[in-house]
Symmetry: C3
Amino acid sequence: MLVFTNLKRALLALPVTVLALGFMSGEVRAEVSGETAYVLNTFSFLVHGFLVMFMAAGFAMLESGLVRSKNTATICLKNIALYSIAGIMFYLVGYNLMYVNVPEGGFMGAFELFYNPGEAELALLAAEEATVEQVKAVTDAGYSVASDWFFQMVFVATAASIVSGTVAERIKVWPFLIFVVVLSAIIYPIQASWVWGGGWLDAMGFSDFAGSTLVHSVGGWCALTGAIILGARTGKYGPDGRVNPIPGANMPLATLGTFILWFGWFGFNGGSQLALGSAADATMMSIVYVNTNIAAAGGVVAAMVLTQILYKKVDLSMALNGALAGLVAITAGPDLTNHFTSLIIGAVGGLLVVIFVPFLDKLKIDDVVGAISVHLVAGVWGTLCVGIFGSGTVVTQVIGIAAIGAFAIVASSIVWLILKATVGIRINEEDEANGSDMAECGMEAYPEFGRGSQTF
Amino acid sequence: MLVFTNLKRALLALPVTVLALGFMSGEVRAEVSGETAYVLNTFSFLVHGFLVMFMAAGFAMLESGLVRSKNTATICLKNIALYSIAGIMFYLVGYNLMYVNVPEGGFMGAFELFYNPGEAELALLAAEEATVEQVKAVTDAGYSVASDWFFQMVFVATAASIVSGTVAERIKVWPFLIFVVVLSAIIYPIQASWVWGGGWLDAMGFSDFAGSTLVHSVGGWCALTGAIILGARTGKYGPDGRVNPIPGANMPLATLGTFILWFGWFGFNGGSQLALGSAADATMMSIVYVNTNIAAAGGVVAAMVLTQILYKKVDLSMALNGALAGLVAITAGPDLTNHFTSLIIGAVGGLLVVIFVPFLDKLKIDDVVGAISVHLVAGVWGTLCVGIFGSGTVVTQVIGIAAIGAFAIVASSIVWLILKATVGIRINEEDEANGSDMAECGMEAYPEFGRGSQTF
Amino acid sequence: MLVFTNLKRALLALPVTVLALGFMSGEVRAEVSGETAYVLNTFSFLVHGFLVMFMAAGFAMLESGLVRSKNTATICLKNIALYSIAGIMFYLVGYNLMYVNVPEGGFMGAFELFYNPGEAELALLAAEEATVEQVKAVTDAGYSVASDWFFQMVFVATAASIVSGTVAERIKVWPFLIFVVVLSAIIYPIQASWVWGGGWLDAMGFSDFAGSTLVHSVGGWCALTGAIILGARTGKYGPDGRVNPIPGANMPLATLGTFILWFGWFGFNGGSQLALGSAADATMMSIVYVNTNIAAAGGVVAAMVLTQILYKKVDLSMALNGALAGLVAITAGPDLTNHFTSLIIGAVGGLLVVIFVPFLDKLKIDDVVGAISVHLVAGVWGTLCVGIFGSGTVVTQVIGIAAIGAFAIVASSIVWLILKATVGIRINEEDEANGSDMAECGMEAYPEFGRGSQTF
């Protein structure tokens, strides 16, 4: 066995060495030449991971723009807090529960504390003189476990972000954050293990490329149960069935948030190719980018056209939500090789939002930012599309949607109800009237702006 | 021929295999070892493409900041809509017209519907057992076609974004979007095929690295004809030649937009190296990044110094536009290896903006955000610089600038005039006074802010 | 020697060629096969560099959000100007002073004008027929010098950005920018050469992975001397020791700025691995990403919990600064392989901010955005942690902190005092009352918002 006296030299030398060895041994040995593939796969997770991480900023801006100014500081706080908590909980519990030792066809992984880098990786990093075996032990995994953790962690945070928008303007900060703890430590990882961890839904053939169901509909279901259990904002629904529009305070921020989300979605879907170490992977990743963009564009245009027809105006917030619905819809199957299908999938997503936002209002389900229509409805639609247009079957897709939906509804309802019964989840009426910012954060978001008091 | 029984193994094995074969066959065979280069080239398009995509957010914020609050929701809507439409049209028509079957020295590509992934790529992705030939058929192209489409698509959207700022605050939404349809489907692709598609200007030796002329001046010309045909905003020019300043409503957003554009410009120029598969490409790409940054910095400082001298104050909006002008100016030739030249090119760009913004006002050409000075004037300057400092000749550069300018002026004027004569392009006076937001979007951008009514 | 007749072919052929040669010559030759490593190392600098560049936008938004509206345009101007000036000065003087010909164990590099690409790189780019030697001459360096310049340049700008927040709302624009000239041309490069240039502190074993001390504490020390020499804002400290809170005008922008900084920090720390050309580098880079995120999350949660305990509210601005403090704290040693340590390091950073912000107010040191607590205090803490938990020793770390602190204090004080004695650094009282925007920029940041005059 080769032993190098200098780590850096050794690593640079490896591909050549091994190739030479491979040739000398008379057979083609692919495994260690995979070092370049390992680097590329890992870097793909990092790059796409930082894009998805930035979606936290996108949600923060979207929601900041769509709430009233008296609740804006609180929504900012909730967004940075939930991103932080989701990351910590996924580190403490979630990752292992989602990925480690999931039995084939099983229902969850390991209840073990702390994700940490693998032993092979630590050995490689600690070695002053890395051996070929040490490098091979690491590169055989295909990518650095830490890079995978990073990429998966930002997905959990996305699921949590979805909830915060719906329940804004009336929920208490700390109870909401406790919900995030449970969501990111338990609820999200368990159902995600069913598919991405190699559990029972994966064994059935259920397919969800980047999480229309696993991320978006789960966030959407939690938002829905939260909205129902929490109740609508005071004044949103009038006595005689009237729906009072409560416009958001800062539409450019909502627009910025949407653009950031769109930007981050290339990481969300593109990174979910999970590899960049071959021509096939790079090609498919490119197709995923193209489909992602086309579906979002289709969502925007469809939502604009429909609002123009229905209301004789083009509603900006519908156009923004149309983009997001197109993105959510394509997320289950952005690997379709016919781009026109993506255009249709995204466009239908945009139409669904325009239909479902007023429909939820009719049901008096008060969703401040439209997240249920965007993430749940378009998420279900997109997951079905994999059965209709893609590699899956409709029946299996429906089973997956239903199973994950049932689990998310039950689990989240239990958590919301326990929180409601114990610490309480709703701010009191006076605080709601004055805005949660003064009550919860002791500050105003825009202390110098405003036309004076705006009790909605 | 080797046939692998497992795609993933096969792809990982390829480099080794082929090297071994190459050696065995007694000659050096480079072609298939290009798989790593293919992956890197493709990933460069994706990474730089998502940076340029984010420029759509930059334009949206820049323009949101520089219009009045009563027109802010509309400008947000136009920005997300134009980005969507440009992408769809480039998918439907533009890409083929720009790139496919452009005759050598010709004037346009194919009028064919739908860009789609190439056959070789689809065959590779569909293969359960990919052959060496199948991989080679894909990697020989150098990069995934889908990644190139993505990268080129975001450039079209940039050209369209330029127009929206100039004609803001008085144009109707839908007619503007029809203009974007024609721009992104026809006008932009045809002239771009002359150079980047290998058409007649390319054959002449006209050089435009990343599009000072092909993207920025084209956007600028369309903005100029639009501004003239549309007319100035009511009240902008007083009876006795007075120019009434109309300050933007939200300068931090304009600043954010400029930073986002600067950030995205590393994708714009860096990605236009078009390859990352060799030491030479990576080195040149790095030089492009450095020049891009230095030129922008030069534009800021030059604009600041000149406004200080002229007006005894440092005008923030001029500093921002100075950055953009520096960026536009270096875009035609960011591959110069003497960075000092970039500093000069960018600084002159910054000076030009400070001179041309009031000059256009003298001509009563009302450009809300200064886009004509930034994208057209600095774009022409930058394209000339390739002749002065770089690889091109001044004569050829002038021919290219003039030809593309003439085409853009004529084509865009025809479209604007047809739109004006048919559906009309200008909102009525009452809507202009009240703001296009209520008229076109049925909402306010900042419903809770404001000192009350601000008729300009 | 092989001579190729076509550069592109030659470069693609290289890996294969050289491998074959290596094998033929009977020994393993790693050096030229490093071309892929060269490309990956270089691309890492570019990608991580553009992330750090975007931190300039983060600082601009953070500071825009935390100042009053009457000083917002000025802070935007200062941020884009300082980024530009830092880049130009690092090009003109700084890079050479920091890196070129630093004697082993020495105190600074070369006083030479102009950074420019290396001769080997220029020769490669100029060659029509690149030889193996020409490629090797470039790739032996490990990465493109231009990419390194880009990455290092954005670090200088970060140091300068730190200062602008502290001294906001009362400093004159041009004198501040002169300070930035000296900071980025002289102060920063000299002390950075002591460690990253291979100078005396590096020889001692002082360790600072990505700059808790070299970047953040240096910026913090300059901010501290500036705040003291400049004095507090009028009205900040009442006669009887009362501290008057002066709330920021736009908290969503401050939140956005924090998210952008967090996003950019993956470039700051991840790119400081300085290489991506091996499995070990990619693995360590991934661990750096994970630690960076966990530390920031720890900072947020710790700051939130402590403010809840102390004030019975969760202060949004403390949560934001907690994130930044966690990030600063982990920056000296994000390569720890036990993530739990990162959580602690970041959390303590968050606690320190909550303690030091009111403590500085007690000392009547007026820090508008809390930058001294974030960047100096947490920077010192993080640098110590490398001695406590990591590879360094506490004694050496203390020596480094003290030496760089002493240098930064003395050098910056001299510059501030000279500026104060000559051109003056503080705007006059009337301008301060009316806001620096009208005085310095001749414009308002939000001309249409506001409840009328707000003299604080």
